[in-house]
């Protein structure tokens, strides 16, 4: 019993040593895919909501991307890039995958603004641009943010697959763990990935809540305390994220192996782990 316990501890310790590296890889991949996904999808959604000719083809396209199995998207992107592996194909695949909820919610949010509010905005002399920036976008924001949160959770989960194309992530734990029958590694990887998804999702939610709470008249002491707590939680998560993004010594080349035990060993040997 004692021996099996110490083996477990030794194993766990070994896994946790790898945590900062995988955390950084996973976070970098997720955040860059999300930021680029948002930067592409929100303007596309705005465009679609203003032009019925664009709307249907665009929504169909992003939906079709979503119907591809995520693993197939990864493989296709690698193929399209001429067999290139590592960060880039994983990043492109995740960006594509993040688009559907954001585009769809941007369109739905902009369309949910009541016609009477838009008529009033027009009637008092706002230009179409002002109606978009001052009325429609702010009113659509909660729905757009809900889409971003969905995309965040998906992307964090899918990023584990990017291990298969040689991008470092919590998926390294999971795939290595499956192949080497190391349940501790699988558990650590899954828990870390889930925890990151929950943390990012709640951080976006908390930021949104804080913004919505501004100037609601008299503020009770309880609400004030909650606000401070939420604010500090956001700062804390930002600090952790910031730490995760501090660049570690950069690899000169990337080594990936097929997901079989021998390849893991060979790849590990070559990488000098």
């Amino acid at each position: 019993m004692l021996t099996s316990n110490s083996v477990l501890n030794e194993n766990l310790r070994e896994q946790l040593i790898l945590l900062p590296e995988y955390f950084q890889g996973h976070l970098l991949l997720t955040l860059s895919a999300l930021i680029v996904g948002i930067a592409i999808s929100v303007p596309l959604g705005i465009w679609a909501s203003q032009s019925p000719r664009v709307k249907q083809p665009l929504l169909t396209t992003v939906s079709i991307i979503q119907t591809f199995p995520s693993l197939a998207i990864l493989a296709l992107v690698v193929a399209l890039l001429g067999g290139r592996i590592g960060f880039l194909p994983a990043f492109i695949a995740l960006t594509l995958y993040s688009m559907l909820p954001i585009v769809r919610n941007t369109v739905a949010g902009l369309e949910s603004v009541s016609a009477s509010v838009i008529e009033a905005a027009k009637g008092i002399g706002m230009s179409p641009k002002q109606i978009l920036s001052k009325i429609r976008l702010p009113l659509a924001m909660p729905i757009i943010i809900a889409g971003i949160r969905t995309a965040t959770v998906w992307t964090v989960g899918l990023a584990t697959l990017s291990t298969l194309v040689g991008a470092s992530s919590f998926g390294n734990y999971i795939f290595t763990g499956i192949q080497t029958r190391n349940l501790v590694a699988v558990t650590v990887g899954s828990l870390a990935s889930a925890a990151l998804a929950v943390a990012l999702d709640s951080m976006i939610g908390a930021t949104q809540w804080l913004i919505e709470q501004r100037t609601e008249g008299v503020v009770s002491a309880k609400l004030k305390r909650t606000r401070i707590a939420v604010g500090s939680a956001i700062v804390l998560v930002f600090a952790i994220v910031g730490y995760g993004l501090i660049p570690q010594p950069k690899a000169d080349f990337v080594i990936a192996g097929k997901p079989f035990t021998e390849q893991y060993i060979v790849a590990g040997l070559i990488a000098g782990e």
Binding site: S116, E119, G123, I124, G125
Partner: protein, 256 residues
């Protein structure tokens, strides 16, 4: 001053007319009610005055200037607009709603603040108490008062109203109507109001224009319309409030 001459509006290239050959003039400080059934062209007529609709033919002058020569957004910022949907911006406070047009006109903050204070107290919602509230925290009547305040905030002397009191309950409606009439007189506002409520038209307006199927049947003061209706439909619609009042009296008398 608003002047329409030979204004027509067709949505099908002239096969049928939503508004046919309409001309009238509203003087400074005058209150005109456009009345008729739904689909008679009254709202289209109103919306052509601030270019929410464009006339197919004819000319509209606002303060002597042809509105076709003006930028539609600039024109609308100088004309107050109130309508049944109220359309307050739900993400903005009462004060921010009222400040909307002055901000579009780039007034400086002090002037906006002073104007908000003045106009909100005029509609009975003092800035100190109501300024930071959001539309959803107000009753229907209060919301429409804010709607009126927003329309008047930029010191426009012309106000267009599209069934502004239609969504209010009867008691609130009479209150807000009377309050608006008082403000209209005080500020000498030129008002064009669309309504289908003859009682409202007769109580508030200096002149009433009756429309049917896109045609302007008759325009005149309430007493002119009551005493000298020139059309069967005008007689019917103008008599309505009186008939109802008579009927009401009859019922009350019987119950005494």
């Amino acid at each position: 001053m608003i002047e329409l001459s030979g204004v027509q509006k067709s949505y099908d290239g002239g096969k049928s007319y939503a508004v046919a050959n309409t001309s009238f003039r509203v003087e400074r400080g005058e209150f005109l009610a456009l009345i008729g059934e739904s689909g008679c062209g009254k709202t289209t007529t109103l919306k052509m005055i601030n270019r929410l609709e464009e006339p197919s033919q004819g000319e509209i002058l606002v303060n002597g200037q042809n509105i076709q020569d003006q930028n539609p957004e600039t024109l609308r910022r100088n004309i107050g607009y109130v309508f049944q949907g109220i359309g307050l911006f739900p993400h903005r406070s009462v004060a921010e709603n009222v400040a909307a047009v002055p901000q579009l006109l780039h007034w400086d903050n002090e002037r906006i603040q002073a104007r908000c204070e003045q106009i909100l107290s005029m509609v009975g919602l003092p800035l100190d108490e109501y300024g930071d509230r959001y539309p959803r925290q107000l009753s229907g009547g209060q919301q429409q008062r804010v709607g009126v305040a927003r329309a008047l905030a930029a010191e426009s002397e012309i106000v267009l109203m599209d069934e502004p009191f239609g969504a209010l309950d009867p008691i609130t409606r009479v209150e807000v109507q009377e309050e608006f009439k008082r403000i209209q007189k005080e500020l000498n506002l030129t008002v064009v109001m669309v309504t289908h409520d003859m009682t409202e038209a007769l109580m508030l307006a200096d002149r009433v224009a009756v429309m049917k199927d896109g045609e302007l049947l008759q325009i005149g003061s309430p007493s002119e319309l009551l005493n000298n209706p020139q059309h069967e439909y005008v007689k019917k619609i103008v008599d309505m409030p009186k008939r109802r009042a008579d009927r009401l009296e009859e019922i009350m008398g019987r119950n005494k």
